[in-house]
Amino acid sequence: MNGFLKIDGLGKSFGGLRAVDSVSFSMKKNTIHSVIGPNGAGKTTLFNLIAGSIRPDDGTVLFNGENITALAPHKVARRGIFRTFQAVKLIQRMSALENVMLGMHSQTKSGIVSGMLSLPLARAEEKKMTERAMASLEDVGLATQAHLPTGSLSFGDQRMVELARSLVGNPELLLLDEPASGLNMKETAGLTERISNLREKGLSVLLVEHDMSLVMEISDCLTVLNFGQKIAEGNPREIQANADVIRIYLGEDDA
């Protein structure tokens, strides 16, 4: 069923600037789909439109057939779509473990009262969340720093905590907003390997990224944006051979 994620004529303008201009593409389940394009092409805006943090002017977003266009971010998360942020957004004063446990918020339901009275439901969920979070931290190799406040972790580690946080609620679709930015070669390689084996675990990933080596290596399908419009789509080989893509990246061939 290819109606996994369908973007149809999505548009958004800020004042005069038409940041995203009726972009449409669809994404198959259990694939890694990347959105690339030069700076200011509207990648992040498109990403935020899908994640629900900004409202589109026109167009629709369908996920598993359901129209989630104008849903608030926390409702989008509840439908199994988790995201990371370009500038890592973690709760500095909370430990890494607690940050990751926050990722399971939408999968658990104990309320304020059961929390206060620490009723069995709350305690059971607490136990489950702690174990899952520790496991998720182990996946990203940060189990030892679980109890340090995230403010004291290195930038690369913080990215990993954010990744762990978005994975702990085993989402259906993971939105990664330039995960490689600020990482060195070694960390990017680790990240590439980690994202590709997510696919083996049945996860689907929508990636917005500059790092061509990462994108070309793991993407099943690519969408190329330029000045808010989709100019190309296809697998990595087709995109690398596409004249328009080369032109916008490498500039006009004067010869």
């Binding site: 926390h74 942020f85 709760i91 004063r93 909370m94 607690e98 926050l102 929390g115 136990k127």
Partner: protein, 318 residues
């Protein structure tokens, strides 16, 4: 397995049990009454600590909810209703008002939220001061005592000093337990994430608006409980309880207590109010609280005081 961090609770309860023995040894049992009054003021400050310190939402109207609790209890119990029902009614009314006010107001941020909550407090004070049925500027006096069990009652009499001290500090301990549990639970974590980054909380499925409202209602309910019990203890309540300066004093207490730190707020709330109620500051009473706000913001904007490691849920050994 992570166990909740009850150390602050143990420290607080041991001190509060110790104090009556001390006052007995030194024959200063009259301290207990003022300590009891301070405990109720600390309870209202505890609510603000949760709202401002943990959920990061400022409120300059906490005294308004204290007054709602106090006045509702005073009027209903004077009208003959059993004080227990009056207490429940006052807490429910405060929660209802908190929801009605909170929903719209919590959309605002920073200065706008400060102004809206300040305005709420001023409106409550003007209504209470200007309505003859609420006793007008003289407030309401000879409010009946609150009989919880057969011989356990909240009243200001000299004979009931120790029992009232016990009631107040038991209530504080219970609330402290509830708060510690809340903070290391799922909704507590969501509440704390608001102070860090609302975007992150939103992205993780936290309904930011409802969580803020939850914190706002809990703060209002704690203030109403404090207002209601204090009114029975004193046997009276005046419009002064809803005054802006009172809300600012709660702010100073939370600030010196360490912003996001329950024990610090309790300690600061009890000690500062105790000194103020004994007139130790004399005519500089307001000045002391003003100076506190200035000094705390200079030296420790995130507050110091009897800070316990602010993170709860420390869990396994380091």
């Amino acid at each position: 397995m992570k166990k909740k961090d009850y150390t602050p609770l143990v420290a607080f309860m041991s001190v509060s049990i110790l104090i009556p023995f001390l006052t007995n040894i030194f024959q200063v049992n009259f301290f207990l009454t003022q300590l009891t009054m301070s405990a109720y003021y600390a309870l209202a400050a505890l609510g603000l600590c949760l709202l401002l310190g943990y959920a990061g939402q400022i409120s300059l109207g906490q005294a308004g909810f204290f007054a709602i609790g106090g006045y509702t209890s005073a009027i209903l119990s004077k009208a003959g209703l059993d004080p227990r029902l009056a207490f429940v009614a006052s807490v429910l009314l405060a929660a209802l008002v908190a929801i009605l006010i909170g929903m719209p107001v919590l959309k605002l941020k920073g200065h706008y939220l400060a102004m809206a909550t300040l305005g709420f407090g001023v409106v409550i004070e003007k209504i209470v001061r200007g309505t003859p049925a609420l006793g007008g500027a003289d407030g309401i006096s000879n409010v009946p005592s609150f009989t919880i069990l057969k011989d356990l009652r909240i009243t200001g009499g000299k004979a009931d000093r120790l029992s009232n001290y016990a009631i107040a500090f038991v209530i504080l301990s219970i609330v402290l337990i509830l708060m510690i549990n809340l903070l290391s639970s799922r909704s507590g974590r969501a509440l704390r994430s608001l102070h860090g980054s609302e975007d992150a909380a939103n992205a993780m499925g936290v309904n930011v608006a409802n969580t803020k409202l939850g914190a706002f209602v809990i703060a209002a309910v704690l203030a109403a409980i404090a207002g209601s019990l204090m009114t029975h203890l004193n046997g009276s309540i005046g419009p002064g309880e809803a005054n802006t300066m009172k809300s600012i004093r709660y702010l100073s207490i939370v600030a010196v207590g360490g912003l996001s730190n329950f024990t610090g707020t309790l300690a600061a709330g009890i000690i500062l109010n105790f000194l103020s109620l004994r007139g130790v500051f004399g005519i500089y009473d307001d000045a002391v609280f003003g100076a506190i706000l200035v000094l705390v913001m200079i030296f420790a904007p995130n507050g110091f005081g009897f800070a316990f490691p602010a993170r709860f849920g420390k869990g396994a050994k380091k």
